[in-house]
Each structure stands twice: as structure tokens, then as C-alpha cells.
């Protein structure tokens, strides 16, 4: 039975921070010089270069881009005429992701509620639901930190019938989520926002593959290279789930 490593925090997370690690690199690097020496030995004698001056790019710009993919917006209730509106640039992308994460969270909540699964499967789905909720919290915080207004939580409706059908739906939803993040990555302006989006992107991929093992469908439905989905495509696909 899969056991999570317990690194997840229950509290809402900012995208700039990470859930606490049990034995983090921070503790290791600062406290234990023998680790550093061992690391440098393994990396090769020129390892000092890898701990060289670390350049931080100050970012978090919310300037709207001339991106062409401001298609049908998610169920946003805020309207704004400023450049830091809910629907443009990185804020727009984050709000789009937030909408998807709200839907995924709602989906998993309904699935758990229906008690269609038990044992390891139930644990897995519960874990994934909790992770989507953490994504919601992180994305809300990210939008706010950029000076934007997070979109409102949409009302969701999902057809939850049998375990098999529900698992298939989960497979569809997670694969869609992964494709959505992949589709947005090249459009993100800020390196920090990009790093955060990529950190969530691979989680959705892990979810999709995991559920693939449950429903005995391909772990990699696109083959060796995952395909991106653009905003209009994804929003059309999730429209049935917006109440």
C-alpha cells in the first residue's frame, strides 16, 4: 500500500515556499560540513563552482503580456481595467490554473464522499484530493502576491456513479490538468511563476499515471512526449463540470 512520505503540510502554501522536508537541504548544508565535503568529492573536484554566486532574478511581474491565449476566461467574477487584471499575463494564467485546481479539488471531495473506493485506492485518491487543495491554496497566494485577485471558486458538478466510471473520469481530469499546465508553461513570463507551475505540472502527471494503473489505461497516453493543451481546449473540456 503506497505510503506518502509525509512531507505535505496541511496549511495553505505560498508557491514561493515549499512544504517542509523531513531532512531538508537547508539543515544539511548549514549544519553538517561532512555532507558538503562528501558531496563535493562525489561531484568532482571542481564542485565548488556549483555552489558559486547564486543570482536571484527578482520577479513576480504582473505586467500583462501580448499573449494570444486570453481565450474564454474561467468563471471569473472580478472585472478590472488595470493591467493587473484577473485575466491577463501571469495572473491570468494562475487564475486559470486555480479554476482547474478548484474543479479537481471538488471532484475528489465528491469521490471521497461517495465512498466508492476502499483500501489503498481510497488512500491514493484522498491524498491526491488533498494535494489539489494545496495547489488551490498556493495558486491563490501566488495571485495575491502578484497584486491580482484570485478567481472565485466555481460551482462544480461531476457525475459520480460507479467506482469504475469515476476512476475513468479521474484519469481524464488528471491527464487534462497535466496537458493544461504544459500548454501554459511557455506563456508564463516570470521565472518564479514558471518554476511553481512546473512543480504542479509534474504532480498532475504523477496523478494521471497513478490513476492509469488503477483503470489499466496507458500511463503515457501521448507516448514519449506529453502533448500540451491550450486554454480554449481545456475550458471547453471542463465546461460540463461547471454548474
Amino acid at each position: 500500500m503506497p505510503v506518502d512520505s509525509g512531507t505535505e503540510a496541511q496549511a495553505p502554501q505560498r508557491t514561493e515556499d515549499q512544504a517542509p522536508q523531513p531532512v531538508g537541504i537547508v539543515e544539511r548544508l548549514v549544519r553538517d560540513d561532512s555532507d558538503r565535503k562528501r558531496f563535493l568529492k562525489m561531484a568532482g573536484s571542481a564542485g565548488a563552482a556549483s555552489f558559486g554566486a547564486f543570482v536571484l532574478a527578482a520577479c513576480g511581474s504582473s505586467k500583462s503580456s501580448s499573449s494570444a491565449t486570453t481565450a474564454a476566461t474561467p468563471a471569473a467574477t472580478t472585472s478590472s481595467t488595470s493591467s493587473a487584471s484577473a485575466n491577463t499575463g501571469d495572473i491570468g494564467i494562475l487564475n486559470y490554473a486555480l479554476t482547474l485546481e478548484y474543479l479537481e479539488t471538488a471532484f475528489y471531495a465528491k469521490v471521497i464522499e461517495a465512498k466508492l473506493f476502499s483500501g489503498a485506492d481510497a488512500t491514493l485518491l484522498k491524498t491526491f484530493g488533498s494535494q489539489e487543495a494545496q495547489h488551490v491554496a498556493a495558486l491563490k497566494a501566488a495571485v495575491t502576491s502578484l497584486g491580482g485577485t484570485p478567481v472565485a471558486k466555481p460551482a462544480a458538478k461531476f457525475p459520480i456513479t460507479t467506482a469504475a466510471a469515476t476512476a475513468e473520469l479521474a484519469y481524464t481530469v488528471e491527464n487534462l490538468g497535466a496537458a493544461a499546465y504544459l500548454g501554459q508553461a511557455p506563456l508564463i513570463q516570470s521565472k518564479q511563476v514558471l518554476a511553481s507551475a512546473l512543480a504542479i505540472h509534474t504532480i498532475e502527471a504523477r496523478h494521471a499515471a497513478s490513476i492509469g494503473t488503477l483503470v489499466k489505461k496507458s500511463l503515457t497516453p501521448d507516448g514519449g512526449f506529453a502533448k500540451p493543451a491550450d486554454m480554449s481546449e481545456v475550458l471547453a473540456a471542463v465546461k460540463p463540470f461547471l454548474a
Partner: protein, 211 residues
Amino acid sequence: MSTTTQLQNPELAEIEVHGLTRASFMVRGALAAGAVYGVSSVAPFVSQALAAGGGGDAEILNFALTLEYLESAFYNEKGKTVGLSGKAKTYATDFGAQEAEHVKALTAAIKSLGGTPVAKPTFVFPVSNQSSFLALASTLENTGVGAYNGAAPMISSKEVLASAGSIVQIEARHAAAINLLISKSPTPNGAFDKPLSEQQVLTAVKPLIKS
């Protein structure tokens, strides 16, 4: 204070990557970081190494290519000699084929950028049976996810970024599947495949920077 610290991932420490290119050096470094500090240290290590190097997209892709050579050799060569069965064998075959595709694609991408693809390094993998093979597969795939996620924000070209994203998603899928097979969490990093904020890494690194 401990004098002998346990390696987080000792199996990573045993892999040999033979090659004198900067890419091979970076892969050795990434594996070392993962071995000593845990897989979650790989992304910031890679970010810093690439930032320090100042190379462009071709260099980043050569780093990725070296990783893919490693994974491809692991599944396609080592996988054939340890004696795998069942799902382990299926995964090694399927994932190995995909890593080989990644090698091809990255090689072509580097050439199209006007760069020179690194030659395939030789590797030594310290595994002798299915159990140790799968354990190392898990670590390698999760390391790959960290490496790509660490490197991606450094990429200049949107096209190259899209390709990298397309590949890392596959690595994440591999990682989840292997983990489930060996009864580990498919999401070993929790809800985010990003280990630390840049500020946290900078704080940690400061004491190590000689002034």
C-alpha cells in the same frame, strides 16, 4: 552533531558517469546532490549549476541529453542483464523505449540550435537484481523530474521550454508508476515537485561561499 552522515540515497552515489564534458560533470553533481541531500536537492543544484555556467539552451539540453543517455542505458542495457519479470520488465521495456526517443529528440534539438550534442557517456549501475533495479529506477526518475524542473526556468527559447516540459511530464509519469510498483508514494515530494524557494537555497548556500 553527527560525524558520519547517512546518505539519503546511497544507490545514487554508486552510479558512475564517465565523461569529461560539462554535461557529464553536471549530471555527476546532480546525482551526488541527490545521494547526499536527497532527491529534492537536485532541482536547486541544477538551477545553480546552470546559472553559474552561463551557458545557453544548447548547454541545458546537453545536460538533459546526458540524463536521458543515463536513463536509456539503465533501462535498455542494464534492464536486460539483471533479469526482470512481470511489470518491472514491461516498464523497463516501455520506459526504455521512451528514454531512447528522448535521446533522439534532444540530439536533434541541440543540432537545430547550432550546438554539438554530447557523446554518450559510459555508465556503471550498481544493481544486480530486480529489487535493486527498481529502487534505483525510482530514484533516477524522481531525480530526472527534479533536474528538469530545476533547469527549465533557465531556458530562453519558448520552443525548447515546451520540449523540456513535454519530456519532464513523461519522467514524472514513469516515476509515479515505478513508485507504486514498489509500494512507495507516487508523489514522494508531496503536492509540489519543487523542493525549496530560491531564498531558502540562498540562505543555505551563504555559509559555504568563501568571501
